[in-house]
Subunit: 283 residues, 4 copies
Amino acid sequence: MKFKVFSELQYEVRMPTTFIFNIQVSPTSSQTILEESLITDPVIPREEFTAAAGEARFIKVQVNDPANFKITYQATVDLHYNIFEQRQLLDTVPVIKLDAETIPYLFPSRYCQSDKLQKLATKEFGNIENAYAKVAAINEWIFNNVEYLGGVTDSSTSAHDTLTERVGVCRDFAHLGITLCRALSIPARYFTGYAYNLNPPDFHACFEAYIGGEWIFFDPTKLVPANGLVKIAVGRDAADAAVASIFGNARCMSMNIKCESIDPEFKPYYIKNSEYQKGLSYQ
Amino acid sequence: MKFKVFSELQYEVRMPTTFIFNIQVSPTSSQTILEESLITDPVIPREEFTAAAGEARFIKVQVNDPANFKITYQATVDLHYNIFEQRQLLDTVPVIKLDAETIPYLFPSRYCQSDKLQKLATKEFGNIENAYAKVAAINEWIFNNVEYLGGVTDSSTSAHDTLTERVGVCRDFAHLGITLCRALSIPARYFTGYAYNLNPPDFHACFEAYIGGEWIFFDPTKLVPANGLVKIAVGRDAADAAVASIFGNARCMSMNIKCESIDPEFKPYYIKNSEYQKGLSYQ
Amino acid sequence: MKFKVFSELQYEVRMPTTFIFNIQVSPTSSQTILEESLITDPVIPREEFTAAAGEARFIKVQVNDPANFKITYQATVDLHYNIFEQRQLLDTVPVIKLDAETIPYLFPSRYCQSDKLQKLATKEFGNIENAYAKVAAINEWIFNNVEYLGGVTDSSTSAHDTLTERVGVCRDFAHLGITLCRALSIPARYFTGYAYNLNPPDFHACFEAYIGGEWIFFDPTKLVPANGLVKIAVGRDAADAAVASIFGNARCMSMNIKCESIDPEFKPYYIKNSEYQKGLSYQ
Amino acid sequence: MKFKVFSELQYEVRMPTTFIFNIQVSPTSSQTILEESLITDPVIPREEFTAAAGEARFIKVQVNDPANFKITYQATVDLHYNIFEQRQLLDTVPVIKLDAETIPYLFPSRYCQSDKLQKLATKEFGNIENAYAKVAAINEWIFNNVEYLGGVTDSSTSAHDTLTERVGVCRDFAHLGITLCRALSIPARYFTGYAYNLNPPDFHACFEAYIGGEWIFFDPTKLVPANGLVKIAVGRDAADAAVASIFGNARCMSMNIKCESIDPEFKPYYIKNSEYQKGLSYQ
């Protein structure tokens, strides 16, 4: 399935500022980048690098003079995620079998204080029979118990806050899902990407849990079809995968995001209840 | 300078439990492992792996039956850290020049909520002239303003707590140092190791800040000589470099740690005031 | 029903220290003080005062010289609380009908951040039909979801912490109950007293909710019989009703608490499930 | 000195809602209410009550039907606060001498977690010679270290947050001042009122500390002249003295506040540095 994605971010830069952007599509085995372009206005030198863990493509640019600065990215991507029957995913991979790349996703991180929620997670979800069912129950619980509402939370809001205040946006939903998984010793990571039919258009955040040896996709917001996500990055949480990190002084003036299917046969697939679903992997 | 380090950890295991230990000396360019041994009692299979970032050596073991479990490590290490004149360290490396391995140490992490402390750090330390002087001032500030006291904080205590409650142990001191550096856009990371003459003997935690292109060592506790640290690991914070992560149910019964100089010419060097020091790097 | 209560607190005083004690039985319409005595050793001047709201009897003493200091209180109390059928308690008293003494118990306080938990409380308990059933459900929820465990929480632990960490002692249980009630606009207050058959013996903390015009008693720990509580004080939370507030430097060396029935016909009555109970009021 | 104060609050009420307003001038020995009026539109029954502690005048009204609701208050007040030389205020009143009305202002409250800040307050301000100088130093410290900025904090922001995030509005400044005083065993309370020349016009929040037997006024924002405050209420913190507490569902559409001098000889007096000032009391 082919998608066209687009993002345009405009900033008013007030003093010399370094930006680290994370808006490019990630070349994973699930998605092939057919073409892409990235333009800055004004045109200035930029450097691309990948994170240590390899999943995210960052761009560094420095704007030296007070000015308006615009970065525009577009790509065409061919998406071919994997689908698993639940019976393939029944096993929690025991910690002793996890490899070095996966183990860090067991540990707490800035926005995911899983160390604080072990009793809660065990009480609420610990007795559920298998790993897939546990994470599916976490996903449903978040959907049912946290109100999706913009403008209440901000970039310092963490899962600990969301658990008590029960309100937030996709980022907060994802952080809470990750935290509850890790508190049950299930590796989980943040997933940021372009999402088909997100309204209003924006970047989207979801999460992946490591089940049966696969990174299975979950979206507790249920805002978008599960088969329309184009991955930008994964990370421990939003601290690893911020769309833009700004060192200096710049103000975002506008963000314009698009994600369109260019495949006439694309049928958006909305997950009603993740407990009864096959597993999707965007790995 | 040669050091002998030793650690022995005993656990009462109550149900099948996986341990991830992080107690072995790290083979860096500053330290050569002359010999080492690691024994578990009972003898059970173990697996060693290094973290994605490469600095830490983890051991995974699984204890399947309720039992007492003991892990014992000893090593002889030749230490040859680097010393820098402050004039070599005057420059903050601008964010635009940081490489992919260093950039993650700019971002907030579980115990280091640098995103919340930017105004405070800028107000207190922002006007200090160069990066070395900034971090040295942070180090002195923590030493002067936080009381070293055991038993008050625990494994969920973060820099945000320490900043207000003004009490903690080496781990808390290190987290606060890291957080204030990152809030000033200076990369900083957690350093855990064996320390000569730490009293009572224990693992020690300090931090490194990236100044003038080098990872310079700071210890806001001032408890041990700066030239007697044997590195186990670096990481974003204690979540990356816990001595032992336990998945299951086990209780630590005893810890026995030693770090001895076996070099008759070793002269312990205590830093009185880091503002007037040369920089040390254990990198 | 007659009870004898006793408390003896010993302190090592290191510098001139003022104590405010709150250990005397409160003379309410539910309990008659038949006799009581309070002794300090050494004998020093003391002053008794009642809080603005009138429910607590505080004692102020100042120990000027480093010394051991002991305060001993004993009383015999005749207890005659009220029992209400649930049908008498069906009505939530609307805020517009609350009087000036009751309204402050609607507002958040130090350990009861009810302003943060409104969405959670409404989601979990908002649809329950009447005020008694709501508070009974809150009480059962705390009993079922929070682990009673000493030594994990301390005097700065609040309901916000307990809600996520799911562990604590009677004080933490009470604070969480109060907070969830207030978040539903049901006035609730902290109740501290002597408790029959508490094991190990200690002061006890519970809460009262204002239902049907009465202050109804709830104890989410279910540790003691509901008919064996001798009230010391009520307040917004433990900040209003601390057993001892210490200004200076003193260390508690021992606490010895007793609460005995001296009525041969006393039958301890344990509430199994507060949903199916009559309401008790110690007002 | 005579002042005219005015406030008009408009709400869109969506379901039956009870309001508790706290906008009327408090009749203290420092201010005489020459005339006042309070009107609601629509005209509905209202009830006035004073808080247990007696300082605040609350109005309860219930709006039963979805509607716009407006409350308008105006008063003319004659202000005659007291002025004290610092030498009259040198003594900290020892806790043992505090009376029952004052003691509650020593304890932590919802937005003022003084129990958590004792080490910090003692370190920063504990060695300053007398109570007036201590509180003046706290006031200067807040003014110098916290940025006044609207829209960042909200009604759940507490002194603990402000201390680390170093940003807020008058309410946050007052809470931090109160907290630091209490952490030094100096009683302190929240003061809300109308303020001459506040820009943009709004209700104002400051604090009072109990020094030398007087409640001395401090305003760490330094936004308004110290001789132009008309008191509405005092309380432990904003939880006791909210302008409007809303039980139901209503949205504030507009607030219009005024505070004008009607005395041609009034000379606004701005405190530059509270360390060198006489003490003002609005008690």
